[in-house]
Symmetry: C2
């Protein structure tokens, strides 16, 4: 029988953050594609769009008018998934019909007043202002009695369900710790209790040693394709210092975080020379009032595209029912991302 | 403070099969949608398409020619995610770099020679022939030494990554038990060990008593919207008898399973009067040679559409990072599906 070669043979890899496996099929990368292709967004947008409900001075769906803001602008989501109202609820502990009210606050953050920009096209010091607001919001929302978790994220691109190209992200703060975060925390905790160090601290050290999957690095952060990545060009930004959450970021660290976000998303845009879609978000310690020495700040990027601007990876049938599956290996993706420039393709013209 | 009303207030529900929660936001159902809309497939397809690699007599990508088959046709996937080759692999037990070779067999099942059909448009006795092949394949593949799990599924519609409208499904058989199945099994096992009955047997009994989420029922099967459903019109078919897998289906049960599949997918098509996309698949006991009294045969349907033929639910940012989220409640979805006819909208013309 043959000697195993991870570049040729189907295999499974273990994700220690979620305690689950991913199926990797390197031999499948060149199957022909006759399926759905994605529309790509128009390349040039105006700096101001009178029909956009996020642009300065415009009317929102709920009848409010945006101020004539500059830079970052924050407001409560007009159609939030959560409400802050307190509701009474009789305890119920059924095996099959367990439900409980959930309270929370949903906010929208415009990253810039300029409708035509995206994170990779913004200046580093302007991205730093977004990071400042993330830090303030984590603190302010987390300080609320009824908020135990603050989820900061961005959906970018139509294919990721984003309904407006104006650069913006969201914050969903809520009273419970959501399922995927709870699972991550459980695994980080077990590791921390066993080893006295953080899982991602030790993992990052090993990744920096081999260098194989490192895409970018600065003094305070590294961006890499995780060994267990599910999406074709999935990456993770990890803080080099073991920071449990964004509250402990210094001014310098906030700037360096902004820098690595700019560089990573620029590489993404350069990959297919389009505004690269993704969902991205921060995982950090919950705000439930407990100590969380097991946590280690990181940010996930989940981009859907696989082969080109038009062909995405579908996480469907097998993936929904059984297990995540990928074709191109994480090492191949890292190699490709590593070799891309951090100068944005548009700025070269 | 207000009294909790599950039709009005955000809440979380518990999924005992996966031991995780879903966020339900009933108040969010009427937010305006300005985002991506899906292309709908052309309504009328020819019974034979010379460009289709699944039609009888046509050439496939690997150079083989399909026989001039009638009814169901089965073949090995030309671009499988798994290979059956045995490979040598040195044991490795790293905390962070765990991988192991995975062997398997991928098959494609054409449900019919007729390019223009889909399950809801097929005759019950022709769907029964598909069920026969599922049973045979579960047996034959499961009998292989190196196969511990047989995943039977269908991706239907372009939006679900299906690259060919010719009615077909897939089987991915492999040496490991995939992550989502392993998690389901763990929870079923814990329940079985505690109660001596199957989780789904007891759940179904309660659902049949209330009737609220039951969409369809025949002598041997029920189709319902699970209390913890994630997708807007997600359903599950559960066998009334506690069958661990498809091997124990009698001829009658196979026919009744075909019948409920036809009726359920017909309701789906009638919902927006289009060929309704979904990923569907069977969860049943693994073929790892062990006894699995905890298992209870069921089939999941995960349809992506939310408001119309064009607007789907995006499981993105918050959902990928934190927790599944839905707008319309499972009870509302069940009510809508319940009231739809089991006569296909096309056959009315
Ligand atoms: O095998 P197909 O139909 O070409 O491919 C489709 O189903 C597979 C199994 O769910 C997925 O891995 C692919 O991403 C999807 O495009
Ligand atoms: O809030 P938005 O951007 O309108 O909506 C988008 O992001 C949300 C959070 O990930 C998802 O629940 C929605 O399905 C998606 O369309």
């Amino acid at each position: 029988s043959l000697a195993f070669d991870s570049k040729k043979h189907p295999h499974r890899r273990y994700n220690p953050l979620l305690d689950e496996w991913v199926l990797v099929s390197p031999q499948r990368a060149n199957r022909p594609w006759q399926g759905q292709t994605e529309k790509t967004a128009p390349e040039e947008l105006p700096a101001y769009d009178s029909g956009c409900y996020l642009c300065p001075g415009n009317l929102r769906a709920n009848g409010e008018i945006n101020p004539d803001y500059k830079g970052v602008y924050l407001f409560d989501n007009d159609f939030g998934s959560l409400l802050s109202d307190k509701v009474n609820f009789p305890e119920n502990n059924s095996d099959f019909f367990s439900m409980k009210p959930e309270r929370g606050i949903n906010r929208v953050i415009c990253f810039s007043d300029n409708h035509s920009l995206t994170l990779p096209e913004m200046e580093k010091h302007d991205i730093k202002k977004v990071v400042d607001v993330w830090q303030q919001q984590y603190e302010a929302l987390g300080a609320e009695d009824f908020i135990s978790h603050v989820q900061i994220f961005e959906n970018k691109g139509q294919v990721m369900g984003c309904s407006n190209p104006h650069p913006h992200g969201q914050i969903w703060a809520q009273s419970s710790i959501p399922s995927a975060v709870a699972r991550t925390q459980e695994n980080m905790k077990a590791y921390f209790e066993k080893n006295g160090t953080s899982l991602l601290e030790d993992y990052l050290e090993k990744e920096l040693n081999t260098g194989e999957r490192i895409v970018l690095e600065n003094e305070s952060f590294a961006a890499l394709v995780p060994f267990w990545a599910v999406w074709p060009y999935e990456t993770m930004i990890i803080s080099k210092r073991k920071l449990t959450n964004i509250l402990s970021f210094s001014e310098d660290e906030k700037y360096l975080f902004a820098e690595i976000i700019k560089d990573l998303t620029t590489k993404y845009d350069n990959l297919f020379e389009i505004s690269f879609p993704y969902s991205a978000g921060i995982h950090q310690s919950p705000t439930d009032g407990l100590e969380h020495p097991e946590w280690h700040f990181h940010m996930h990027f989940y981009p859907p595209l696989l082969r080109s601007a038009e062909v995405k990876k579908f996480m469907v049938g097998y993936e929904m029912l059984a297990e995540a599956q990928r074709d191109i290996t994480p090492e191949q993706s890292a190699e490709i991302l590593k070799n891309l420039s951090t100068v944005h393709y548009k700025s070269k013209n």
